[in-house]
């Protein structure tokens, strides 16, 4: 069973061993509305926790994506290049954005549990 943690900036990370799958939450997707473009990083890029790893554009606005942990990108969801709308209406398995090799698993401790994230967004 993978463990899912959340950032206050609305990214989630689902961890299996030291591989983290990162995407944005349903709440964020709902706020963004019609997603028309997702800018993805290159495989091999290294990010520090909090770095911008990509961008999501909706009709009305553009939002940065923040890396919830430090690590190296090992895979990107290339489907999003042609079909950014998958983030909105795709199957769950198509809705991730990047996979990273996590440097330091203890960084996950500072992220939110689902319950706490839900409290943040209900404010």
């Amino acid at each position: 069973m993978s463990k899912i943690k959340y950032a206050e900036s609305h990214e989630y990370i689902s961890l299996e061993d030291d591989i983290g799958t990162i995407g944005i939450t349903e709440h964020a997707i709902e706020q963004l509305g019609d997603i028309v473009y997702v800018e993805l990083p290159k495989v091999g890029t290294k990010f520090q926790k909090g770095d911008t790893f990509g961008v999501v554009e909706s009709v009305k606005a553009v939002s940065d994506l923040y890396c919830p942990v430090s690590g190296e990108v090992i895979e990107i969801n290339e489907l999003l290049n042609d079909k950014p709308e998958l983030l909105v209406d795709g199957l769950f398995d198509d809705k991730w954005i990047i996979r990273v090799q996590v440097n330091d698993l203890s960084e996950l401790d500072s992220l939110l549990e689902e319950e706490d994230y839900n409290k943040v967004i209900s404010k």
Binding site: V36, Y37, E57, S58, V59, K60, V62, P84
Partner: protein, 366 residues
């Protein structure tokens, strides 16, 4: 400052509207999603609450002469029962606001201005007023609904006795909907056929519901400010604060068609005549992205490694399915459709292409 609400605030919430702050008002930005609402107006019909806009009443025996001496467009071009698009300009020709004047009857006008400029416009008009004119700000008592789309005429026809086919573009009538006095004009801000309905606040919910009910068979949708922006941008209709401001003249904003330099004196005429003679320093262009990256307000435009201007409005065009934007650039060459420029987006240069305006023009069939 306390945010203002239109009489339809609760209605918007009931319809699932997501409320945001706009020009001091709490207004719905969207109900379902922007693309769906946008397409509803292009294909069928949509209803917009635009009661946040400002309405002034101008009357008295000098009111025609006053307006004619004030605005750059020529009231001689219209008669009673017609509306006209124009601007208020400063002496230097830059734009205080853009607006529609409704010529309701002899020496009796409605003036509809942008929500963000109500106070500024009212004060400016008062400073310039001549005797025997009454200027009233009725913004707080007045509701405006826009009903836009190819099915707008059929929708409104169900609610009044008039033959709406007889009302031409920018035509106005005084009529009744649900036995309530309304001003009905064939105007809008979407690039689609449609009407705007102006009436007293006290009837807002009743009239909104009547139109909504009448439009049901045409699949009418409530439309928020988000789609209002994408619709007007596709049609190249300017938005004050973006394409127009106090550093820009209507000539620079490609609104020369509404500036009649041959008419008698009006405020800003001297400067505009001079600008026309000397040539424009900056011009408005339309661009499209060759990728899906959206050039947005404020992004810089580059030609031959030199920044030559800035985007004023940009969005993803739901009708065209690619990003479009308007930008002011220095008038350094004869820009042609198909010319390539670059726009700096998040520190990187992306190629964009100049396109003819408007981005979208509706087909006018029978």
């Amino acid at each position: 400052m306390d945010l203002k609400r239109t009489p339809l605030y609760e209605k918007h919430k009931e319809l699932g509207g997501k409320i945001v702050e706009f020009a001091g008002w709490e207004m719905p930005i969207q109900y379902s999603n922007i693309i769906e609402e946008h397409n509803a107006v292009r294909k069928n019909v949509g209803i917009f609450d635009v009661s946040h806009m400002g309405t002034f009443l101008l009357s008295g025996k000098n009111s025609y002469d006053f307006l004619q001496k004030t605005v750059p467009n020529d009231l001689n071009k219209i008669k009673v029962g017609k509306a006209i698009y124009t601007q208020f300009c400063k002496d230097d020709g830059t734009v205080i606001d853009d607006l529609i004047i409704y010529y309701i009857k002899e020496n009796f006008f409605y003036i509809v201005v942008n929500a963000s400029n109500i106070e500024k416009d009212f004060n400016w008009l008062q400073e310039n007023l001549i005797p025997e004119i009454k200027l009233e700000n009725i913004a707080e008592q007045t509701s405006i609904l826009a009903v836009q789309g190819p099915m707008a005429e059929k929708t409104i026809s169900k609610l009044c006795d008039n033959n709406l086919a007889e009302i031409t573009s920018f035509g106005i009538i005084q009529t009744k909907i649900k036995d309530i006095d309304v001003i009905l004009s064939r105007t809008g801000y979407t690039g689609e056929d449609g009407f705007e309905v102006i009436f007293d606040n006290s009837h807002a919910v009743e009239i909104y519901e009547a139109i909504f009910e009448a439009g049901k068979e045409f699949d009418i949708k409530p439309i928020g400010l988000g789609a209002r922006d994408t619709l007007r941008l596709e049609a190249n209709l300017p938005l004050y604060g973006h394409e127009l401001n106090e550093n820009t003249t209507p000539l620079e904003a490609k609104l020369g068609w509404s500036v009649k330099l041959t008419k008698e004196d009006f405020i800003g005429k001297k400067a505009l005549v001079e600008q026309k003679e000397k040539g424009l320093k900056k011009i408005l262009i339309g661009i499209k992205s060759t990728s899906r990256i959206v050039p947005r307000d404020g992004y810089e435009i580059v030609l031959d490694s030199k920044v030559i201007g800035k985007v004023t409005s940009g969005t993803f065009s739901p009708t065209l399915n690619y990003p479009i934007a308007l930008a002011f650039v220095e008038n350094v060459k004869d820009f042609q459709q198909g010319d390539r420029l670059e726009v700096i987006i998040r520190g990187k240069n992306y190629e964009v292409e100049i396109v003819n305006l408007p981005f979208y023009k509706r087909k006018r069939g029978l």
